[in-house]
């Protein structure tokens, strides 16, 4: 589904990703862990097409298409979804209106019919239940005045609604207490399917107790220095990232 090869990316003249490779098959959940500044958020932003992230080398294929050529909205229509670490507030823009615009824009781009407001509202209500979000959220402006937990749950709710093929969760666990974390994880697990893949980017292991990954990768110095199964995450928890830095250095040095 997603094939990243030797990806190099630069932000404000600084090289952040330095040869990252990763392959995600349909239905897989990949966790990407790493210390602060390793390039975790950069990966999500590059995949979703944020401006200011310059790809200097390498390729990203999504279902055989060159993802890097597409505008952000085209990537969304193709089925790539980024759950933001810090979802931005958009004052005055009604949440329902926003969701419907996004939903219909994507359907239209895929040549599917648009939903009218009644049909859409019905759909939204169903999905809301999954995320245990209060319906009054729909009447508020996008992310405005939402608590940290509400913002994160709202991201997952959007994911449930938009049903992407590939979802990238960027530090979705940060700032959440354990109950909110569980709710978010439940939301994600409900969406797991043989066709849908996830990249879960996180600093901490604890999220992976609830969203169990098929593969765990350690990102350090802009590349993946270690890959393994779930036990890798536990090892990280035990030894900390310093262990990775030591462990991973020779690979980096030989590059």
């Amino acid at each position: 589904m997603l094939k990243i090869e030797n990806l190099h990316a630069r932000v404000e003249g600084k090289d952040i990703l330095k040869g990252l490779s990763l392959e995600v098959k349909p239905g897989e959940v990949h966790a990407i862990m790493g210390p602060n500044g390793a390039g975790k958020s950069t990966l999500g932003n590059v995949l979703s097409g944020r401006e200011g992230y310059e790809v200097t080398e390498g390729s990203v294929l999504f279902e055989g298409r060159n993802l890097l050529e597409l505008a952000p909205e085209e990537r969304a229509a193709a089925g790539v979804f980024l759950a933001f670490q810090y979802p931005v507030e958009i004052p005055g823009v009604n949440n329902t209106y926003f969701l419907r615009a996004a939903y219909n824009a994507q359907r239209k781009a895929r040549g599917e019919g648009e939903l009218d407001s009644m049909q859409f509202l019905k759909l939204v209500r169903e999905k809301l239940k999954i995320m245990q979000l209060s319906p009054d959220l729909l009447n508020r402006a996008v992310n405005e005045g939402f608590s940290g937990g509400e913002k994160k749950r709202n991201e997952i709710f959007q994911m449930a609604l938009l049903e992407p093929k590939l979802a990238i969760l960027d530090e979705t666990d940060s700032g959440l207490d354990i109950d909110a974390l569980k709710q978010v994880a439940e939301g994600v697990n409900a969406l797991r399917s043989p066709e849908r893949s996830f990249i879960v980017v996180t600093h901490y292991q604890r999220l992976l107790d609830y969203i169990v990954p098929d593969h765990v990768h350690v990102l350090a110095g802009g590349r993946i220095v270690e890959s393994g199964d779930r036990s890798l995450a536990l090892k990280l928890e035990e030894h900390g990232y310093a262990w990775v830095a030591e462990h991973g250095e020779p690979a980096g040095a030989s590059a």
């Binding site: 401006e51 909205e73 996008v142």
Partner: protein
Amino acid sequence: MTAESIETRADNTLLRDNAEVAEALGRNYAAGFVTEIESESLPPGLDEGIIRQLSAIKREPEWMTQWRLAAFRHWQTMPTPDWAKLKIDPIDYQAISYYSAPKAGPKSLDEVDPALLETYEKLGVPLHERAALAGVAVDAVFDSVSVGTTFRKKLAEAGVIFCSMSEAIREHPALVQKYLGSVVPQGDNYFAALNSAVFSDGSFVFVPEGVRCPMELSTYFRINAQNTGQFERTLIVCEDRAQVSYLEGCTAPRRDENQLHAAVVELVALEGADIKYSTVQNWYPGDENGVGGIYNFVTKRGDCRGADSKISWTQVETGSAVTWKYPSVVLRGDRSVGEFYSVALTHHFQQADTGTKMIHIGRDTKSKIVSKGISAGRSSNSYRGLVKVEKGAERARNYTQCDSLLIGKKCGAHTFPYMEVKNPTAIVEHEATTSKISDDQLFYCRSRGIGEEDAVSMIVDGFCKQVFRELPMEFAVEAKKLLEVSLEGAVG
């Protein structure tokens, strides 16, 4: 005055500029078509003779002629205003025709030239049967004269007078004489003086004591003929505990020359009266290179003359090459309330200098100002406002919020609020921000699949929400569309 002195223009220039061409050229300005109808105009120029002619054409009583002449004499003594933040070419007042009317004078709506009705149709004016559906009574002013007023009968039953100003001068002279110029005196400012001398038509509304106007009233203004100015005069009077909501829409065709629009609007609210005045201003803004467009110099003022009265201005300004307009409220009555909600959008080379004045005189008076400015292209957009609390205005309150949104690097957004407070029990608060559409917001929308232009409209619409909420429903929809159209090409 005889008809021979009236120049008939049927008219080559109009043909040259036919609707098809205009439409092809003017995708971005949907109202930019010209209606081919025969019109009659006074020759360009301005002197006492012209004013007497104008007054005669309109069969005005002598007091009105004298009123105009007094204004004209005063105007001649006034210096041309110099524009703080506006760059405009000098206006040749002798090159303007001060009267242009469709030649066949309509007696009733059925007699109105079909081409004209079609014009309104294109503009989306809910006139005639459409008016019935929309439940709106419309007074349409085409160039200089009022062409038809709908729902007269229903309004008359309620005791509401809604007619053209010309008609009011003839039919209700006592009311006009009592209130005309009582809010905006003839010599108030340069353009108000000019308007007082040459105003050709406009709307008159009178709502008697205790009456809530049974429907929303509406006027559409349109400048059609070339080299004419439009100088309409609107007067709305609400007696004690009367209430009215009034809507005003404006359009003009595309022309390469600048045209002048200098209107005066006076509102009088007596005790407990409530007037809501909404404007969607979409005069032709000029093209992408700043050629042509309307000079929109308007004096709008409301007088909360009685206790517990309320005047609320809502405006959405997307048109005109140059706008100079400060709808104001004089809060004379105790506990009176003044409001100003404004969205002003400028693009290309448009210049807008708009805002409000809230003059607190009575006790416990309140005012609220919400101004949203959006600048794109090479335009310049200024908020200029005054909040004045006079000595006797015990416990006066004002809250002002001015936000500016910048789209692009070559535009300007400015905020000039003046606060003058002479009463120690008053509270005046002003807040202003300026920012651009944030990359984060745009990216967020796009990453959810919404295209860039749609994302911009969505964010701009959200930015304006507080103001749109104040508009009657169908106007809010129109306003939103106007912003979208006006912003085309602003991004990227």
